[in-house]
Amino acid sequence: MKVHEFQAKEILRNCAVETPRGVVCHSLDEVESAVTELGGNIWVVKAQIHAGGRGKGGGVRVVHSEADALSAAKDILHQPLVTPQTGPEGQIVRKLLIEEGVGILSEIYAGLVVDRAEQRVVLMMSPQGGMEIEEVAAATPEKLLKIHIDPDTGLTDDDARRAASFAGIPDALLDKAVGFLQALYQAFWDNDASLAEINPLVVTDQGDVIALDAKMTFDDSALYRHPHITKYRDLDEESAAEIEASEAGLSYISLDGNIGCLVNGAGLAMATMDIIKLYGEEPANFLDVGGGATTEQVIAAFTVMLKNKQVQAVLVNIFGGIMRCDVIAEGLVTALRQIGTEVPVIVRLEGTNVERGRTILQESGLTLITAGTMDDAARKVVQAVRG
């Protein structure tokens, strides 16, 4: 699960990670009072959307007066912000974070992520703050330090000191930096994060070590034990279709193509998208109905898929293992009767009770196109959209 920058900073502050003082604003009035409340003579106006690259899209502005703060806020708030990660239509900005400006002496990168190969959390540090870490890793790998953290000990003093030193933090501030990094690791671990990226982490002219920016994502499987994080979910940042699908317990991702896919199992769902592409068309979505799809879920799946007006045909590819094909077939027939779609539906059923499943489809009177194999199904659906 993704959270906003201001939410990540709230979580970090609660774990004793230092951040600049800031106020979340939903209107220009709130921006005005935030500027007064924060005081000083320099502020940063930051668009709060989930996508990264906000700076590149003009969503982060440094301002020197209340008037400038208001005019920057007016430019950004309620407008779409286009960044390298949003797609061309951008994402509407509904919240701003107004922060006090800080005097920056140096910008550093600090990131924590799960290293799958090592099966541990890895701390990544670089003196090249403010840059994309993938670029640093590719262009100047010697400027990136990775430290794998033993879950039994957590981030040790020695490792934290080595990382801080590597990143060029002055000796006088090393103790502070060690405290910062250990608090960051604890915030990551205790909240079941999957990513915590502080880019940049800055050393200020006041001798502080603070998280100027913060990006965190969390392990969906562990949210059940973190209700305070679950409440940070922002439905405005998710597509209507994805929300509807997740409510029905479906895993759905919208794509750009014209063939809707309804499949059981993530691997087979990806493989089905791949074969559509291989035969020259593009999938309109990824949709995994899971191992035990119910009639209600199949109805929800069709509803979500067909709301996408790009969809010109649907490919249903089910390999019934535990899920019996006759149950799936009944679900399909009920769903299609209820929804009544115009687009061609190609159904490939295989697995347990497949003969009964096929009979149910044939006797339904619905104009379904049945396919015997995955290959046959892919060819038929491609043919259907080409007319």
């Binding site: 990660q85 799960v114 799958r116 190969a117 099966q119 541990r120 959390v121 870490i133 993938e134 033993d150 879950p151 039994d152 671990w189 079941d192 999957s194 392990d219 969906d220 499987s221 562990a222 059940y224 034990r225 895993s251 991702i253 794509l255 499949v263 059981n264 199992g265 993530a266 691997g267 087979l268 769902a269 990806m270 493989a271 089905t272 998208m273 791949d274 074969i275 559509i276 592409k277 291989l278 593009e282 999938p283 990824f286 995994d288 191992g291 390999f319 019934g320 293992g321 535990i322 295989e350 697995g351 347990t352 194999t373 995955m374 290959d375 892919a378």
Partner: protein, 292 residues
Amino acid sequence: MSILINRHTRVITQGMTGKTGLFHTENCRAYANGEAAFVAGVTPGKGGQEIDGIPVFDTVAEAKQETGATVSVIYVPPPFAAAAIDEAVAAELDLVICITEGVPVTDMIRTRRKMESSKTILIGPNCPGVITPEEIKIGIMPGYIHKKGSIGVVSRSGTLTYEVVDQLTKLGIGQSTCVGIGGDPVNGTKHLDTVKWFNEDPETEAIVLCGEIGGTDEEDCGRWIAENSVKPVAAFIAGATAPPGKRMGHAGAIIAGGKGTAEEKISVLRECGVHVTENPAGIGELVKSLIN
């Protein structure tokens, strides 16, 4: 021959008194030598009961001692799954197969740390299990699509494995053992471990490797294959059309920071001498061409 499990394997079901555990234990018992193979259940607090003639114990250690079982399969709910693995490891079982989907990643990091000094092999979590056709099935796969033979199958995904096995069986090609290693980012056995075992198994003639986007396990496996004399390996990588940054169902199936794309995996595997098809419907035919 086969790898990991055969007709002599004796199995404990952890979480057997739950709905899922009961259902699948019944199915596994109905397959080949299952009746003799599934000898014990474990559910804390329910020891002393008997279900369909299978004794239930409070702990894995007790079940092992009383029945001589050396393998366990886990169906307990996600919040307790890692602890169930820990218990099986502490009881020094040879093999633990965790079917449970949705185990928190930090739980698995802790569990894998504990396993560093252990000889127990873990398959999963979030996997369909392991089957040696016509001998024993431990997991949730449909048994009847399998056929005894000489192809080793290893895959991260459930239904995609069934698809591959079905293609093989319909071409008359049987399997030695099929291993579903699961789609989670932090898990037990990797593709590479399984390929090594298949390579040493005299009955396995060729190997099918089904991978998917995310991580670098397939590449690591490919590099080992390139450096060692290995039986023919056929591969398919799911997710060529997956967009970056989106989790494709499995927690592990995500292209992050430009890494873990299907394109990169396919190119590395091909350089390493692995036979890769980009058509998921053509895996069976590819295998057929390799063994003839």
